[in-house]
C-alpha cells in the first residue's frame, strides 16, 4: 500500500496524480511553510501565483482559480491581453518543450472573473486614501486597498479612467469594453473616481496630503519625449503618445491615403504604426535605430506589424524632416551603426556617409516617454532621470504618507510592473495607516524552486491563442488576438508542471498496489509497500 511521498524529493510534477487509477493523491500547490516559488511567479513583477490557479483551471475549478487571482492579480483580463509575460520566458517548461501559454490562461480566467463574479468589498476603516492617476498602478493600489476595507478615491486629469490603458494602448489590442468592465468592477467595489481633476491644477498634492490619510502617486509617464530635429514644426509631424491619445479619444486624425513614416522601435511606435495603418494610410514604414532583432517592441507585435503590411526599416536614424510649402514631404535618414556604448548606455553612433531619403506626408515621432513632474511639491524628491525617488521596498517617497509607483517611478515600463507597484504600495499604506512597521518581513527575495520538473514530462504542444485573420483587420479596430475556449484553457493548463508543489497521499486506503505511481515518479519520491495496512473503518459518517 502506498506509504510515503518524500517531500524533499518531490518536485510537484503531478505525474502521480495523473497516474493513479484509484485517485489516491491530491496536490498541494500552496505548499505553505516553503519559501520557494515557481520560476514564473518569481519572474512576475506582481508575484502572481500561477501554479495554484493554473492547477485549478486544469481541474475545471474556474471559480477557485478566480479566487487565486483575486488575491494576487487584479486587472487579469488586461494583463492577459497585453502583458509582455516575463513569466513565460522564465517558465520551466521551456526546458521540456515550450513555455506554458500563461498569458492566454490569465486572460481566460480574467475574463471569466469579470463576467461571472460580482464585485464585493466591505468598508472596514474610515481612513481615506487618495490615489493620483487611474493607470494600472493606481487601479491596482485602489483594488487592494478597497479589498482590505479602505475608502479610496482616484483622481485623474483625463475624462476617462485607465491611464495608458485608455489613451495609449489601442483598441485592437485592448478593447475599451474590457477596460471599462474592469473600471466598473472597481467602482462596484466602492472605489471613487474623480475624473477631469488634474492634481496641481485646482487641487494640489499638498491638499490631498492634508485631506487624506495617505496618498499614492501613480501619474505615469504620459508625455512624449521630444527631440530637436529639423522640420519638427512642419504640418504633418505628430508625436507618438499624443497621436495615440487623440485616436483613443475619438478625435479625427486624418491619415487616409498618406505615406507614413514612424520613427521609433518601441511599443508606442509599434502601436502608432499599427493604428495609423488602420486609419487608411497608403503605406506605413517604421524606422528605428535598432536592428530588427534588438528593437524593443514585443515580438508578438513585430509579427503583427509584418502580417499587416507595415514595413520595418531597421538600423536607421532620423536626420531631418523635409518639407514643402510648410508640409511634410519626406525624411532623410542616416545609417545607425550602434545604439548603445560598451557599457550599455544609450549612445547611438551613425555613419554620416550612408543616408537615404524616404517620401512621407505624415511623420510620427515615438522615441520615448517621460513623466510630467511639475505638480510635485518640493519635499517629494525626484531622481536625475526625472522619476520620483522612492524606497524600493515600500515605495514610500521622501514625504511620509506619500507613496509612489508605476511609470512615474520606474520610467515607462509595463502594466504588470505598475500593478506590482500598486500592490506593494497598498501593503505599505495599510501598514502605515495601522502604524505598523512598513518594512518588516518584506525584504524576502522569493527563492526559486531549485529543481523544477523536467524528466518524464510528456510533450504536449503549446496552444497558441487564435488570431483574427489578417484580411479582417484592416480599416477597423477589432481585437486581433482572441481568447481560449473552455477546452483550450483546460488543455493548456494541463501543460503546467506545477513546479515545486507537493504530492499528498490523500486516500491511501484506496491504493490497489499497482505501483504505477512509484514507477512513474521521476524523483523516486514514492514508496509503495508490498503489504497492506488495515486502516480502521468507520461504519458511518
Amino acid at each position: 500500500m502506498i506509504e510515503t511521498v518524500d517531500a524533499e524529493l518531490c518536485n510537484g510534477c503531478r505525474l502521480c496524480l495523473d497516474t493513479c487509477p484509484t485517485d489516491c493523491f491530491r496536490l498541494d500547490t500552496l505548499v505553505s511553510g516553503r519559501a520557494e516559488q515557481p520560476p514564473c511567479q518569481v519572474a512576475c513583477p506582481a508575484g502572481t501565483d500561477m501554479r495554484r490557479y493554473l492547477y485549478l483551471v486544469r481541474e475545471g475549478m474556474i471559480d477557485e482559480a478566480i479566487g487565486v487571482l483575486e488575491d494576487c492579480l487584479p486587472l487579469a483580463s488586461i494583463t492577459g491581453r497585453i502583458c509582455p509575460h516575463p513569466c513565460e520566458t522564465a517558465c520551466a517548461r521551456n526546458d521540456v518543450d515550450e513555455a506554458v501559454n500563461i498569458n492566454s490562461l490569465e486572460r481566460f480566467v480574467g475574463d471569466r472573473w469579470i463576467a461571472d463574479k460580482p464585485a464585493s468589498a466591505r468598508l472596514l476603516y474610515t481612513a481615506e486614501v487618495a490615489i493620483v492617476g487611474s493607470g494600472p498602478a493606481g487601479l491596482a493600489c485602489g483594488y487592494f486597498l478597497a479589498r482590505m476595507g479602505y475608502p479610496v478615491t482616484i483622481f485623474d486629469s483625463m475624462p476617462e479612467a485607465g491611464g495608458m490603458l485608455r489613451y495609449g494602448v489601442p483598441d485592437f489590442r485592448l478593447p475599451r469594453a474590457v477596460l471599462a468592465a474592469q473600471i466598473d468592477y472597481l467602482r462596484a467595489m466602492g472605489v471613487q473616481f474623480r475624473m477631469n481633476t488634474p492634481i496641481g491644477g485646482g487641487t494640489s498634492l499638498d491638499d490631498l496630503a492634508r485631506e487624506y490619510r495617505a496618498v499614492f502617486v501613480a501619474a505615469g509617464a504620459a508625455r512624449s519625449r521630444k527631440i530637436e530635429i529639423e522640420g519638427r514644426a512642419l504640418d504633418g509631424v505628430l508625436w507618438g503618445l499624443e497621436f495615440l491619445r487623440e485616436v483613443n479619444a475619438d478625435q479625427p486624425v486624418s491619415a487616409s491615403g498618406k505615406k507614413v513614416v514612424v520613427i521609433g522601435g518601441g511599443n508606442v511606435a509599434m502601436d502608432a504604426a499599427l493604428t495609423v495603418n488602420r486609419l487608411g494610410a497608403a503605406s506605413v514604414r517604421m524606422v528605428c535605430l535598432e536592428t530588427r532583432e534588438t528593437m524593443p517592441a514585443y515580438a508578438e507585435e513585430k509579427q503583427q506589424a509584418l502580417d499587416e503590411g507595415v514595413v520595418i526599416d531597421p538600423s536607421w536614424g532620423p536626420k531631418r524632416i523635409a518639407g514643402r510649402d510648410g508640409k511634410v514631404a519626406g525624411m532623410e535618414l542616416v545609417r545607425c551603426l550602434r545604439v548603445s556604448d560598451g557599457a550599455g548606455r544609450f549612445a547611438p553612433a551613425f555613419d554620416d556617409k550612408e543616408t537615404k531619403f524616404v517620401e512621407a506626408d505624415l511623420v510620427i515621432l515615438a522615441i520615448g516617454q517621460e513623466a510630467d513632474l511639475a505638480f510635485l511639491p518640493h519635499d517629494v524628491h525626484v531622481t536625475e532621470s526625472r522619476t520620483i525617488r522612492v524606497d524600493a521596498l515600500t515605495l514610500q517617497t521622501s514625504r511620509p504618507g506619500v507613496f509612489a509607483g508605476g511609470d512615474i517611478v520606474s520610467g515607462s515600463a509595463s502594466v504588470v510592473e505598475a500593478i506590482g507597484a500598486g500592490k506593494k504600495a497598498a501593503v505599505s499604506i495599510d501598514r502605515h495607516l495601522k502604524s505598523q512597521d512598513i518594512r518588516a518581513d518584506r525584504d524576502l527575495r522569493p527563492q526559486r524552486v531549485l529543481k523544477p520538473p523536467r524528466e518524464r514530462i510528456p510533450h504536449i504542444p503549446r496552444r497558441a491563442a487564435p488570431w483574427l485573420p489578417v484580411g479582417e483587420r484592416s480599416g477597423n479596430f477589432a481585437e486581433v488576438k482572441c481568447g481560449y475556449s473552455d477546452d483550450a484553457a483546460r488543455l493548456e493548463a494541463q501543460r503546467c508542471m506545477t513546479c515545486g508543489s507537493r504530492a499528498v497521499i490523500a486516500y491511501p486506503e484506496d491504493c490497489q498496489m499497482c505501483l504505477f505511481c512509484e514507477r512513474d515518479c521521476p524523483t523516486q519520491a514514492i514508496y509503495v509497500s508490498p503489504d497492506r495496512k488495515e486502516i480502521p473503518l468507520m461504519a458511518w459518517r
Partner: protein, 583 residues
C-alpha cells in the same frame, strides 16, 4: 449542492481504455465532436494500462484460417463463445493494428522485425495444434500514446470525471451525468450518442489491480433497461507480495512488465507435467487455472506451489529474460523446494475481468437495445469469449474492434436521428440520483459497505466453489445491503463520492453474480458448482442474461445457435478435455 457544468457533445465516450480510445478516435474521424471521460486518468487507468499489450496477429495473407482459430476459442470457452463475433474480431484485427501504427503506437521487435509470438505450431509449445499468434505493443506506453493522439485530433478528454447516470428521453439515451472526483463539480454531459467503455466488473477483491472496474457502465445500462450477460463466470487472478515486488522490477522487463502475470501464465502454458493436481489437463490452453487452487485449498492442500521444474529450457530462458532475471525470492521462487513458486495468493480468487460479458450487444454494431447507447470493450457483452477467456491477446483486440464498431454505429445513428434534446426534468432526476450520497447529511461509509460486501463475495466458497445454499445465503445479505444500506451511502468528499457509486454498483453486480450462478444449474468453464459438478449439454448450451423487470432482477436463458454446439455424438471427455474438480 455541487456546482454544475454542462457540456454538449456529439458522442460521449465513458472510459479511457483501449475501447474508449478506439471509439473516440473513430468517432472523431467522422468529424464528430467527441468527449471522452475517465474516472481516473484516461490512458493510464483500466485494464488497458495494465495489460502486456499483446494483441491478436491474424493475417489471412499468411494463410491464417479463421475457422481454425475460432474452433480453438470454442474449445477454450467451452462452446459459449459467440462465433460470429470471434470471426469479426479476427478479420478486423489487422485493420485495427494498422490504426495503432498510424496513431504512433510502438510494437516490440526482434531482430528489427515485428516480434510475433504466442503458441505457433512449429515451436511445439502450447496446446498442440494451436494456430494462435500474437504481437505486443510496448506496454505501459501504448495507452498514453493513444491519449496524446486523441488530444491532438481534438477529442475532449476529461479526467477524474466519473459518470454515473444516463440521461434518457423518450426511450433514447441523451448523454449522462457525472462529477469530478477532485473539484466535486457536477457535469451534465448532453450527447447525441453515448458509448460505454468503462471496462469490466470486478468487486475490488485484491487481484491484479482491478479497483477501477466496478461495473459502472454495466449498471448504468442495466438501469436504463439493457440486459447484461454471463455474470456467473468468474475470471480468477491472483495477487501477492511477490507480485508487488515483481512489478517494482518492471523497468527492466523486456517484453512484459507484469511479471507475475507472466509467471503464472507461461509456466502453465508448457502444459503437462506439473506436480500434484496440476498434472491434469485442467487448465485452458492459455494456462489459466480454473477453480483448482481454491478447490485444492478447500481439500486441505494449501499452501500451493507452482512448479517450474519441468518447464522446458526454452520457456524458462524466455521467461527469465522477460522478467529481467529477478532475485528468485522476490517472485516467490522457493529455491529450497526446487523450481517451485508458492501460489502467491492472499485470497484464492477474485472475479471477472473479462469473458466478453457485459452489456448484451443486440447487434453487430454494439448497440445494446436502447437508441443512442452503445457498449465497447470489456463493457460490451458480445460473448466473444464464452465460459472462459478464449485466447490471449483477444481481449484487447475485442476492445479495439468493438470500440471502432460502436463509433461507426453512433455516427450513423446521429446522422439519421434529429431528436437529441433532453428535458430539464430528466436532468433534474439524474442529478438527484447522482448527488444523493454527497447531499446526505449522514450515512454509511462506502469503504465499510464494500468491506461488508467483500465478506460475502471474496472468500472462495461463495463465487469460486459455489453451492446453492451458500449462494442463497449470500444473496439474501446482498439484497439487504441493496435495500437498506446502499440508499444510505454517504460521501464526505468528492473522492468518496466516487466510492459511493462504485460500492452501489458492486452490490448490484454481486447480486447478479449470485442470481446468475444459481440460475445456471451446471458447471462450465469458470463457473463451478459443487451441487452440479458437470456440464449439462445441450440444456446449458445457453447464455444467462440479467435484465431489469420493474424493480425486479429477471434472468433469461438465451440458447446458443445449434450450429455452435459441440458434437454431442462424441463422448463427454472428448468434448471437454478440461476436467472439473469433482470429475
Amino acid at each position: 449542492m455541487p456546482s454544475e457544468k454542462v457540456i454538449q457533445t456529439d458522442v460521449l465516450v465513458i472510459g479511457g481504455g483501449m475501447a474508449g480510445f478506439f471509439a473516440a478516435m473513430k468517432a472523431r474521424e467522422q468529424g464528430l465532436d467527441v468527449t471522452l471521460t475517465d474516472k481516473a486518468f484516461a490512458g493510464k487507468s483500466g485494464s488497458t494500462h495494465f495489460s502486456e499489450g499483446d494483441i491478436v496477429y491474424f493475417r489471412q495473407d499468411l494463410g491464417h484460417d479463421a475457422k481454425e482459430w475460432v474452433d480453438l476459442i470454442s474449445r477454450n470457452s467451452e462452446y459459449l463463445n459467440n462465433r460470429e463475433w470471434d470471426e469479426i474480431c479476427l478479420l478486423e484485427a489487422e485493420a485495427r493494428y494498422h490504426d495503432l501504427v498510424n496513431w504512433g503506437v510502438q510494437f516490440y521487435e526482434k531482430d528489427g522485425k515485428l516480434y510475433v509470438f504466442g503458441t505457433p505450431k512449429d515451436t511445439g509449445v502450447g496446446t498442440p495444434g494451436t494456430a494462435y499468434t500474437m504481437i505486443a505493443q510496448q506496454n505501459r506506453k501504448f495507452a498514453p500514446t493513444l491519449r496524446s493522439r486523441a488530444l491532438e485530433v481534438g477529442v475532449r478528454v476529461m479526467d477524474r470525471l466519473m459518470v454515473s447516470e444516463l440521461l434518457q428521453q423518450e426511450g433514447r439515451v441523451a448523454g449522462a451525468v457525472g462529477f469530478n472526483t477532485n473539484s466535486g463539480d457536477l457535469y451534465v454531459l448532453k450527447a447525441k450518442a453515448t458509448i460505454l467503455a468503462t471496462g469490466a466488473s470486478g468487486l475490488k477483491g485484491g487481484a491484479y489491480p482491478v479497483y477501477s472496474y466496478t461495473g459502472d457502465g454495466e449498471i448504468m445500462a442495466y438501469k436504463a433497461g439493457a440486459a447484461l450477460a454471463s455474470k456467473e463466470f468468474m475470471y480468477g487472478v491472483v495477487y501477492s507480495r511477490a507480485e508487488v515486488e515483481q512489478r517494482r522490477k518492471g523497468g527492466t522487463v523486456e517484453i512484459s512488465q507484469n511479471a507475475l502475470d507472466v509467471s503464472y501464465r507461461y509456466p502453465f502454458a508448457v502444459g503437462g507435467d506439473f506436480s500434484g493436481w496440476y498434472n491434469k489437463p485442467n487448465l485452458n490452453s492459455q494456462g489459466e487455472p480454473v477453480v483448482f487452487p481454491a478447490w485444492d485449498a478447500h481439500q486441505g492442500k494449501a499452501p500451493l506451489y507452482l512448479d517450474f521444474s519441468s518447464a522446458s529450457g526454452w520457456l524458462m530462458k524466455d521467461y527469465l529474460k522477460r522478467i529481467g532475471t529477478p532475485q528468485a525470492d522476490k517472485i516467490g521462487l522457493d529455491i529450497k523446494r526446487g523450481m517451485q513458486i508458492k501460489w502467491p495468493s492472499s485470497r484464492i480468487m477474485t472475479h471477472s475481468i473479462w469473458n466478453g460479458s457485459g452489456v448484451w450487444a443486440t447487434d453487430k454494431n454494439c448497440s445494446v437495445g436502447i437508441p443512442g447507447l452503445y457498449a465497447a470493450g470489456n463493457s460490451c457483452g458480445t460473448m466473444a469469449s464464452g465460459a472462459m477467456y478464449g485466447g490471449m491477446g483477444f481481449a484487447s483486440t475485442h476492445a479495439m474492434v468493438t470500440g471502432a464498431r460502436a463509433a461507426k454505429a453512433a455516427a450513423a445513428y446521429i446522422s439519421e436521428n434529429r431528436k437529441h434534446a433532453v428535458s430539464k426534468e430528466e436532468v433534474a432526476r439524474a442529478r438527484q440520483e447522482v448527488c444523493r450520497p454527497i447531499e446526505r447529511q449522514g450515512g454509511f461509509s462506502p469503504a465499510w459497505v464494500t468491506q461488508a460486501l467483500h465478506g460475502i463475495t471474496i472468500p472462495y466458497y461463495f463465487l469460486d466453489i459455489k453451492h446453492a445454499t451458500r449462494l442463497q445465503a449470500a444473496l439474501s445479505i446482498v439484497e439487504f445491503l441493496r435495500e437498506h444500506i446502499v440508499p444510505k451511502l454517504r460521501a464526505e468528499t468528492p473522492h468518496e463520492w466516487r466510492l459511493a457509486h462504485e460500492t452501489q454498483n458492486m452490490v448490484t453486480i454481486a447480486e447478479m453474480r449470485f442470481r446468475s450462478s444459481l440460475f445456471r444449474t451446471e458447471s462450465r468453464g469458470n463457473h463451478f458448482r459443487e451441487d452440479y459438478p458437470r456440464r449439462d449439454d445441450p440444456n446449458w448450451l445457453a447464455w444467462v442474461k440479467v435484465k431489469k423487470a420493474g424493480e425486479e432482477m429477471s434472468l433469461l436463458k438465451e440458447p446458443i445457435p445449434r450450429a455452435w454446439w459441440p458434437d454431442l455424438s462424441k463422448p463427454y471427455e472428448e468434448r471437454y478435455p478440461r476436467i472439473l474438480p469433482m470429475e
